[in-house]
């Protein structure tokens, strides 16, 4: 069950501060990297909701993101729909598809669930690859970003776009917390801990799984629509299962089921990728070794490791601090 702790709040504040610092000080290349991190962070939040809090390890979230990107691109370019409406449409579509995938896969568990989601992802990939409307292997270009000139913001400026993505990520984080604390979110946690018992208590398990998977799909859709606006060109590679695999790596690297951990993971992963690929073409080897080290350490990712080491101590400090504060408050009242 999701809970904010002092450590998690601290990490969030540090992450936000780091992102803001980067957004205001970095030049073009640094801003591109920041935006890449922010969009990946949205995708891994979506994945952590279902995998970390529902035990639904999905290998189709990359494809859902790709569907969001293509839907936005087609609606806003070929169908000539205003970008904000196109974005809403893309998000609704990925939500709907996510709901259906969640409903259909709700009966399978473990490896079978993973395979079923992989199959859905591959179906989407090959459809986008083959259907002429999507531009096949060549992909689609001519995408434009949302027009926020009414509030005096030009998203074609890298800095503004990065800040916009940061604001959207903040909103998505808030929405993720609300989802996890909602009725379906709580029930899904119950299902992850003991599906048989939740059913025996009268819960329609498939509905809860489908609902949360659909909401998670919407978040992946937002990430997709922003990814399309970021690179202004999309190709079927966006729907490749390796994108889902990478997202899963990031979630595990950061800390499954902690929400904050995957954010840390996204930052670490992208920075590592860029730093290492500048030095060696074999950067995947290093990331692989890191992932193996994290998994072997039995810690729940980088952030899980920090929580296990310092979480309890910080909580105790905070409890002591509030206890010390209370008598003073009583005095000041009197």
């Amino acid at each position: 069950m999701f809970r904010h702790t002092a450590l998690r709040y601290t990490a969030l504040v540090l992450l936000a501060a780091g992102a803001l610092f980067q957004a205001f000080t970095a030049e073009y290349f640094g801003l591109e990297i920041l935006t890449e991190i922010l969009i990946l962070a949205m995708l891994v939040l979506a994945l952590d909701i279902v995998a970390g809090f529902g035990g639904m390890v999905s290998l189709c979230h990359g494809a859902l993101m790709g569907v969001g990107a293509y839907a936005f691109a087609i609606l806003s370019t070929k169908a000539g729909i205003a970008p904000p409406v196109a974005m809403a449409g893309a998000v609704a579509l990925t939500g709907g598809i996510g709901w259906i995938i969640g409903a259909i896969c709700s009966r399978s568990h473990g490896i079978y669930f993973i395979m079923a989601t992989l199959a859905f992802g591959q179906m989407a990939y090959s459809y986008v690859f083959e259907a002429p409307i999507f531009g096949g292997d060549d992909g689609l270009g001519g995408i434009s970003r949302l027009d926020l000139s009414i509030i005096g913001v030009d998203l074609n400026d890298s800095r503004s776009f990065a800040l916009f993505c940061l604001a959207v990520l903040g909103a998505i984080y808030g929405a993720s917390v609300l989802i996890l604390r909602s009725g379906p979110g709580r029930s899904l946690s119950g299902v992850m801990h003991n599906e048989q018992r939740m059913r025996a208590l009268g819960l329609t398990v498939w509905r809860v799984k489908a609902d949360v998977f659909g909401l998670s799909g919407m978040i992946a859709g937002v990430a997709g629509a922003l990814a399309a606006q970021h690179i202004l060109y999309i190709s079927p590679a966006l729907l490749s299962w390796t994108v889902s695999g990478e997202a899963l790596v990031v979630v595990i690297l950061g800390g499954l089921g902690t929400l904050v951990g995957p954010l840390v993971g996204a930052a670490a992963f992208v920075v590592l990728k860029h730093e290492l690929s500048a030095v060696t073409t074999y950067w995947h080897l290093v990331v692989g070794l890191l992932l193996i080290a994290v998994v072997m350490s039995r810690a729940n990712g980088l952030f899980g490791w920090v929580e296990a080491r310092w979480g309890a101590r910080i909580e105790r400090r905070m409890a002591d601090a509030t206890r010390k504060q209370q008598p003073e408050e009583v005095l000041s009242d009197a």
């Binding site: 069950m1 604390r181 909602s182 009725g183 379906p184 709580r186 029930s187 946690s189 119950g190 801990h193 003991n194 048989q196 018992r197 939740m198 059913r199 025996a200 208590l201 009268g202 819960l203 329609t204 398990v205 509905r207 809860v208 609902d211």
Partner: protein, 247 residues
């Protein structure tokens, strides 16, 4: 309130439920006795829908529920506890009870509010915690409470759906006689209109609570009647020699 008609179930050549017909009136407290392997748990599994009988039917509050899935039967007011703890390990006692109460109040599927923070859910959680003596443990995780307290929680979770009929599968299995006695006092204090069917290993304990007794042996009902009659029954003595002698 709860009725079975000619319920029959076999696993291959093994007949685990033979033509079982039971009838519980509203507010009746019936104990099922029977040696290990008599088919008591299998009968429960068919009552709640976790197993499908080969033939026969289950009726809840006058309605044939034989074809209804587990969750739907539960929402009609049938709740059970398990012989082997089936809890939400890793969550707190409060969350365990809250998840059940949220299902009962319809909050478990509502998106717009925190189901565990709803006043009606919290009210049920407090009531049930009071009923099964879990108040001191509300904020403890399942892993932090003793086995005996977990057995109480096992029943508490079933009670938190505010059922019409409560099925309990050996609620005191594995806990000492002291605690079992205390637990039966608890059951005696539950609302009188709650229909209870429960499996109990210890005959004397069973007589504390039971209005009526059913004895199963090899999947068959071999006794159905009042506790006084059961005490004198020779058949029961033979089946139950072990625990009869112990007592």
């Amino acid at each position: 309130m709860l009725e079975t008609r000619n319920l029959t179930k076999s696993f291959g050549a093994v007949h685990v439920t033979r033509d079982v017909s039971l009838k519980l009136e509203r507010g009746e407290r019936r104990v099922i006795l029977g040696p290990n392997g008599a088919g008591k748990t299998t009968l429960f599994n068919q009552l709640v829908g976790e197993l499908t009988p080969n033939s026969g039917s289950v009726h809840l509050a006058g309605e044939d529920v034989t074809a209804l899935p587990v969750a739907k039967r539960a929402r009609r007011g049938l709740s059970r506890s398990y012989q082997k703890n089936t809890l939400f390990d890793g969550l707190t006692v409060e969350e365990n009870l809250g998840l059940a109460a949220a299902v009962h109040t319809g909050n478990a599927t509502r998106l717009w509010a925190d189901s565990l923070a709803k006043p009606e859910v919290r009210e049920i959680v407090d009531e049930v915690a009071e009923q099964v003596n879990l108040m001191p443990f509300l904020h403890a995780k399942v892993s932090e409470i003793s086995y005996g307290v977990r057995r109480q929680l096992e029943v508490g979770v079933a009670l938190a759906t505010r059922p019409l009929v409560l099925l309990m599968d050996e609620p005191t299995s594995g806990v000492g006689p002291e605690m079992s006695k205390g637990f039966h006092d608890l059951l005696n204090n539950l609302p009188r209109d709650l229909t209870m069917l429960f499996i109990e290993h210890d005959m004397d304990l069973a007589f504390d609570v039971a209005d009526t007794i059913t004895v199963l042996n090899y999947g068959e009902v071999v006794f159905d009647g009042l506790p006084e009659a059961a005490r004198g029954s020779r058949l029961l003595k033979e089946i139950y020699l072990g625990s009869w002698e112990d007592a």
